[in-house]
Symmetry: C4
Subunit: 254 residues, 4 copies
């Protein structure tokens, strides 16, 4: 496998004005917690997996004695008004060329599916614990900005840059003539923030016009954190072993 | 050479329900010892070499005054019941993109040959010396799991991740609609483990229904270790020289 | 996106013997200050954006709540005598393969547009503050050299190498049968040098036969410096976070 | 430019059983000194340049005010018996994938030209100063080995590996059904060794059946060393600046 590849379980019929919501690891783990919660609460169906040479070269052993490659997956929720696609993932690509490649594949696939809008979810790190937290946003069109402003999202106050898919996907959306936005929960940045995740689930529930019960979020966020931590520890361990192998001569070449 | 390339010495006729066994360097050197021993004991015939830009850019000088590029090789054992292909190698690819590329090429080639099952061999590092050692396994299908359970392989107890080809190949097998498993000998992790290798040879002998004498394994494992150590030292030396050249200004640009 | 891509806003009609001037970040920020000033003073029209997987994987949030991907852009000034294309950019590619890829794409695009000459602008670092500063040049043809000598540019006195697009683009120009030169303001090297930038604007004004008022340069150079610093800080911050994440286990995988 | 590219000045008619001799930087600078000396003494004609994204992204300023990209070049000596192609270069590719790519392009081009044999020249580092020095060799065929044994080259005594093009090119030659050998002068390893270079020039003179006067070698070796040192210093300086920029926040993004 030389290029990032999307392996479809089944190609759904042309979607109805669909919106993509991303649930990838990032600041405060907000995106991933939101994405995983929505997949579970909305009983979304997995439609495809995305595998990439820019992800780590390791697979996880499951409790049942199976194995699971590190991947991102697309899920679908069919709705009368507009369909929702959710991109959920263990990890993001580990280099700039990898990030651009994956983002390009995601946008191509979205266009094929009939997605017309890309909403990424992330965290906006403030380094402190806020009592009155905002949800910040950036968007590619005035129209989309207005919709989110009505729902209380703050535009033009966040400073700096957005790293990874949360920024690249809406930027690519614009280039490929789709609408795009990134919605960021204000967060400390160094711990998993379920409060911010809840705020965003409520926001997206209103935005998409889909009722989502947030009762189980706390519990499920812990599950998200547990999985992410496992992934992170394994990737970390491998990197450390390789760094060690590169300086000393202790481990076999692999 | 821009992509990993498999150079065939001769293309065998469509194989009979063949199984691929891997013998690549990894934890406790178990995979490589098992693979090399089976190639020798079963008098397997080399059918192709795999060369990759993701292997180190160096060649070994032989005692006869020849030269040998760092490579992986495919060997074939023709059997009435089912044919066996063994992948033996000096090294694994040195980056994630390299690992994915090589694994993809191996699977493509296996499909062309008529391989239907991929069994990788590795070590499961416990960091201690066990008196009663298990063989751990993960598999892509319940059917394959059951076959190995009957032979005493333990599923669902090993934790964490499998790094490199031992994990990627069965994961890719699944994606390409082949069966796959990884069989791991329990081992300390920081020395060559011929006891674990013997266990696996006995297991594979039963699994494949091929009698394999394990008398000479100890002696040959030493030979494997010697070769691997030579490869490792040379690659290490080159890396250190390049690291040194990158910080000081002592060696010529090469 | 796997390769560097130029996204055209509009393809202009075949240009009239056009010259490309580059305004990219580099020593003393001279190139970027000159490029940005010329784009503004000459009211150049943006004709395309260049996006590259070899740029950092981050986007900037704008004051209006929009987002802006890191990019280079081509601007056009239509003139009776000869048209001028200006390449302005936030950044240069972050690796050698990236630099070669971007330079190749720029030259291909220039040939399509009808550009016949490539003039890159850079700084020549002396490590001290000169009272009587030269403008140094290198050129691919004697003809071009002579033109610049007449305008006071010094050839054959600068020593060493030119790093990045300022050197690669004229070298590529030669290979693709275009004329090329690099014009370098003598500068200390460790601060933004608007005096050197002014000298180059005056030189290019004469060379191109286009009057350019340099009154507003000081003020606008400050703006350039502010933008560059923001880009640099954000890229730096991300790199540090990733370096930290690679050694400790503190931040989420992204 | 995405792939290593060979730009032909002129394509010579199909060569007569030609042999390629390499003159690239490496241990003791022997290869480059030999190659450069032969190009000059035999008045070889440049037929093409090889440019690669795996070379550093910098160009050299010439004394005449021109610029010269870092490159390798092919030179041709037409001879009655057999033609000689010499590959001379400033540098070798800076990564394993780069080394494999460049070696592949060199072999492809050689096959097009009608080259039938690849002889690389390198150094064999002993870490001490030998009074009675050998020339060591490795070769892909017994026939070639015998020819060099007759001329006093020692086979089967050198140990370890050959790094870079000196090893990859003969290994690739074999895969592409050409003959190949690497000829190495015994040398200390940490200084430029003109004595070893002389030995190799005399050897190649005999092997090729071409008289080559070695009187001017000492003087010209100093020139080789001077050029290489300049290249090395510039590349080194750039790498250090980039390493510094990656850890502190001092230099502009380039």
């Amino acid at each position: 496998m030389i290029e990032t590849t999307i392996i479809e379980k089944r190609r759904p019929k042309k979607l109805n004005n669909a919106v993509l919501i991303t649930g990838l690891p990032g600041i405060g783990l907000i995106g991933q917690v939101v994405g995983r919660y929505m997949v579970e609460e909305l009983k979304a169906t997995k439609i495809s997996n995305l595998i990439s040479p820019h992800f780590p070269h390791q697979v996880f052993m499951t409790k049942k004695g199976g194995l699971r490659i590190i991947k991102n997956s697309f899920y679908l929720v069919k709705r009368k008004k507009r369909d929702v696609v959710i991109l959920l993932g263990d990890i993001q690509a580990m280099s700039s060329p990898g990030q651009y490649e994956v983002a390009g594949k995601v946008i191509d696939y979205c266009k094929k599916l009939g997605v017309t809008e890309i909403i990424t979810v992330g965290g906006y790190s403030t380094g402190k614990i806020e009592t009155d937290r905002h949800i910040h946003g950036v968007a590619t069109s005035l129209k989309l900005r207005k919709k989110f402003v009505k729902l209380g999202v703050v535009f033009g106050e966040a400073r700096g840059s957005i790293v990874g898919a949360a920024g690249l996907l809406p930027a690519f959306a614009k280039m490929y003539e789709l609408d795009g936005a990134c919605i960021m929960g204000e967060t400390h940045g160094s711990y998993v923030d379920t409060t911010a995740a809840k705020q965003i689930v409520i926001l997206l529930s209103k935005y998409l016009g889909i009722p989502i019960n947030i009762k189980r979020l706390d519990q499920r966020a812990k599950e998200s954190q547990r999985i992410l931590q496992k992934v992170q520890e394994e990737v970390q361990k491998t990197m450390e072993q390789q760094a060690e192998a590169a300086t000393r001569s202790v481990s076999y070449i692999r």
